[in-house]
Symmetry: C2
Subunit: 396 residues, 2 copies
Amino acid sequence: MSEIHRASTTAPVNIAVIKYWGKRDPKLNLPTNSSLSVTLSQADLRTHTTASCSSSYPSSDSLLLNGSPQDVSGARTQACFRELRALRKKIEEQDGSLPRLSEMPLKIVSENNFPTAAGLASSAAGFAALVRAIANLYELPASPTELSRIARQGSGSACRSLFGGYVGWDQGSAADGSDSMAFEVAPAEHWPNMRAVILVVSAAKKGVSSTAGMQTTVATSSLFAARASETVPKRMQEMQKAIKEKDFETFAKVTMMDSNSFHATCLDTYPPIFYLNDVSRAAIKVVESINVAAGKIIAAYTFDAGPNAVVYYLEEKEKEVAGLFKAALGDKEGWSGKRGDAIQANSEGLEKAKADSGVALDLLKEGVRRIILTGVGEGPIKTEENLIDEKGEPIS
Amino acid sequence: MSEIHRASTTAPVNIAVIKYWGKRDPKLNLPTNSSLSVTLSQADLRTHTTASCSSSYPSSDSLLLNGSPQDVSGARTQACFRELRALRKKIEEQDGSLPRLSEMPLKIVSENNFPTAAGLASSAAGFAALVRAIANLYELPASPTELSRIARQGSGSACRSLFGGYVGWDQGSAADGSDSMAFEVAPAEHWPNMRAVILVVSAAKKGVSSTAGMQTTVATSSLFAARASETVPKRMQEMQKAIKEKDFETFAKVTMMDSNSFHATCLDTYPPIFYLNDVSRAAIKVVESINVAAGKIIAAYTFDAGPNAVVYYLEEKEKEVAGLFKAALGDKEGWSGKRGDAIQANSEGLEKAKADSGVALDLLKEGVRRIILTGVGEGPIKTEENLIDEKGEPIS
């Protein structure tokens, strides 16, 4: 029997504070603007992926995600496979003693440690793990920067999950996308006390669905061009400076303004795209109340393409931010475990907030299904824990 | 006893299809962009105002609205009084035989035929009626255009209620506001079959309130400048052409896009301003379904600074548009009377729409409190029906 080659990694989710929305090249996933994200801890949210290859495998590549076979024939997955195989082929050609892994079928097994139904963009962690695992399998000398260029072709925001900490994605200008890659703004340890509480909105409260499409925004929004060409470039500079100086107030204000700007261009799309609903609005209102009560900005909301709120705050303000949400939403799933146990329910803060945002708090109680507690974390981590056994079978 | 001088008028509500939002001069109510509206029929929605003056009145001016005394000391009301008195003074100076009305205290009584609680911007009709009634009282030779310049200082959008039909408001460029006035795009009889159904959202469903402020948008939205300087000027041209050519599809598309653009700049404000809620989103979805079912655009939504939807359509599409809403919301207040009786509940259309927008229809049923049926109408109408009697007392 032929040898089974295996390598495994975990990769993180990232939540942008300057949003990616709009492609200048849909095939290559080249964005109309740069973006910036915080990589979240893999202790809380991660994709675990084992890539393997063997000449004994059935001839076509395969991918099993959370136990379900996935279609790998799509152009995006194929682009990642093709690019990684080409890099492997190059080193095989330089060293004839290396096994010809680039010619063997790939078998990939992937698992998320978070419910897909949570509505978190899992494709970023998924493609980052896929690319990193295959790069490990192929023993490629490629840097995270080079791998981010490949992962980008799988899912745009996946490129940012190749790094930990605070990560930018430079839109680049080359037509072939060769300079559209992620870069490290600062590692997690530079500003390790960044935390996030994610308010996951019940499916029942999601309301009217939108037929999303960032390309419809590019084509129809009269305000989009100003966002891409003026607003975001300015904010990219402000945000990098804020992160380098650990200036939370600026970080938070730019985060909130950029989330609003992104959703504004969605609303300005024809037909309009809505991701924020009344529960999201309530989360915004409660964050505003928390900041008013603190007399300065200590919490920042941001929303991806869905109603779930991600609220960033610093560990030292845990009581004022997460503690208030715990007092309001303590009966929801997600408060157990090491992070949740450490958070004190801030009933006093909640009482004060009720005066200003009682309706909003009621809406949150009604509409939030679960919470996720997390914080800034590392980039992909190599692991010896394989999801495929020595015989090439998925371990379940 | 001194003579009681009286004059009365009614004035209409208008609902913009290209929105006014942002002032370049807050004191003079000079806008950052031009706007355009449809004047609605006074049979359905109107303010009725009697202006009177007498040397026997108490020395200070007064205003009674729906039976409640109003503060007239505000700069906006004072500006209207001052400008109208100056015009009267001029003709008194030219003709010494005229009574010195400009020197007498004003007593004004006003009544709306629609509930204030309906959340309709009543200030436009209110200031238009106030200015028109005083102009009638003073027998001013002023044209609606000249009066619109005065009413604008009371409430910006009031200037458009001095005309019937389809009305533009030119932003103007003079620092003193002398060229920021309303103008007739087309009279009501040019395109008389324009109808509107207004979906009034329950107070209970209004959700999180916003601290509104168009000046906050001007100051903080990074997208607002593009709207004011590029988007709106282009749409003003498209809209005037569509009205002149009675091209409903263009009229409707520009109406919807401009409503979305306005609310997008509200969302891009810091802190964000929300007027649309889940019920508003549901109305948008149902309008989209109606248009998809028709295979062309036969209905257009627009939202002012609140969650109520105004849906424009042409009389010949009454069954497809208003009829569908009647089938869905027939149990709400507002379907009785001449307009409502003529509308056939379109149960067949509703059944079809359910497949595409069942959730949205449920949200509408839950969140709409009443409907108002109306259509394009005339400008202010002089009336002999006074709300103040010969003795100077309000008639209740």
